[in-house]
């Protein structure tokens, strides 16, 4: 955009343009430097370091429970710390709490919106959080009285300017971390609904987040439609690391159990492993025959296995260290939209567009 050359304005117009050019040069130089620094550390591949590790035997995992009750696509699920209860949310606007051992429904809440894309269990097991197209994250305390109307005790905590894509309690029931289609993540105080910190940096919708294991400190990772995975400092709001190697939306991110790495799943049909201390991608889990996007990923307890739920209705199980596929699981009759390993690692649960949830072991 060029403005007319008026002599007294000339000096004022030139400065912003010069500054802009100078800044652009500096950012290009920094980006090149970053790439060079990361490349210097790429002295070996993960699977090479893992050559001496024993291969994994055959895996036989089957559906052990099928949870039926949602009237439409299951979009999200989370385990309770008691390792048996599960909360799930659906396009039909319902949030259901299940006893996965018995498959009984313990609670059900109808949200005021459809497409409840996010749900999470509170660490105490006494509440669940959920949200979606209502742009909010609400917390429902779970009552022991089955007849009590849960909706009456609902507490609105987070407010975004676009859909809620993911939510997670931090170490306690007191704080919730959210991600949104508005391109931001935010940390909220549950009791007051106050915004404690906001995280800006994604250039498009943020689709997923995961908190670092508590031993490794106050960080979390987020993934978005800008193909980036960002690692954030929860106290300062600063983005401390950023990874951009996926070729499409990142639908799921999950920390490696030690906290030194994280995995991602993307619409580009690959899962990838990023090492935080080397500050780079160290493995890609893909096959030419796998062409459908990954919706969700999670690690087994030791971090050796990576489970991925795919849009082609399957679950692929990967050997994290060797980079090979260990198993492929069939059962769902539509896209797998969500996947979480149980807190004690004895099983994992998937949710699907086929309206059901399955527990595998």
């Amino acid at each position: 955009m060029r403005s007319p050359r008026v002599p007294e304005m000339a000096t004022q117009e030139v400065q912003p343009n010069e500054t802009l050019t100078h800044l652009k040069t500096e950012s290009d130089t920094l980006k090149t430097k970053l790439e060079e620094e990361r490349a210097k550390l790429h002295d070996v591949e993960l699977h090479q370091v893992a050559e001496k590790v024993d291969g994994l035997g055959q895996f036989i995992m089957k559906t052990r429970r099928t949870l039926k009750g949602h009237g439409n696509k299951v979009l999200c699920m989370d385990w309770c710390k008691d390792k048996r209860r599960i909360v799930s949310s659906s396009q039909d606007g319902k949030v259901i709490v299940w006893d996965a051992f018995t498959t009984n429904k313990e609670h059900a809440v109808t949200m005021p919106c459809t497409w409840v894309m996010a749900c999470a269990y509170a660490p105490s097991g006494c509440a669940v959080a959920c949200g979606g197209l209502d742009n909010k994250c609400s917390v429902y305390p779970l009552s022991l009285d089955k007849n009590e109307n849960l909706a009456a005790k609902k507490k609105s905590v987070a407010m975004h300017t676009n859909y809620l894509s993911a939510c997670s309690f931090t170490n306690s029931d007191m704080q919730i971390l959210t991600s949104s289609g508005d391109g931001t993540c935010a940390l909220w105080d549950v009791e007051s609904g106050q915004l404690l910190q906001s995280f800006h940096g994604h250039a498009a919708d943020v689709l997923c987040l995961d908190l670092a294991p508590s031993e490794t400190g106050n960080t979390f990772v987020s993934g978005g439609c800008d193909k980036k995975a960002n690692v954030w400092d929860m106290r300062s709001g600063q983005c401390i690391q950023s990874f951009e190697t996926h070729e499409s939306d990142i639908n799921s991110v999950r920390y490696y159990p030690s906290g030194d790495a994280f995995a991602s799943g993307s619409d580009d049909a690959t899962c990838r492993l990023y090492d935080l201390r080397a500050d780079r991608e160290v493995a890609i889990y893909s096959k030419e025959s796998i062409i459908f996007g990954v919706s969700s990923v999670d690690f087994s307890l030791s971090g050796r296995l990576l489970f991925g739920g795919y849009n082609d209705y399957t679950i692929n199980v990967w050997d994290v260290l060797k980079g090979t596929r260990v198993s492929i699981l069939f059962g769902h009759e539509n896209r797998v939209s969500t996947l979480r390993v149980s807190p004690d690692g004895t099983a994992f649960c998937t949710g699907s567009w086929d309206h059901t949830l399955r527990v595998w072991a």
């Binding site: 620094e37 030194d260 087994s300 030791s302």
Partner: protein, 72 residues
Amino acid sequence: MSGKTCSSNSVIQAQKLVDQLRVEADMERMKISLTAADLVRYCQEQRRHDPLLAGIAASSNPFKDKKSCVLL
């Protein structure tokens, strides 16, 4: 006037990008040969605590059925 506002917004954005890149460039990084060895070590140490790897008896896994089904 709108020309100036646009360019100063671009300057603010460009400055933010440079600041962010400086933070990232300052990071201390380790070689993959070292970090990968740690990842492998963690897996190996935790292996026997991983029920899905080590396999646990049907009787102690609440999700695995203890009895077998008989089709009549």
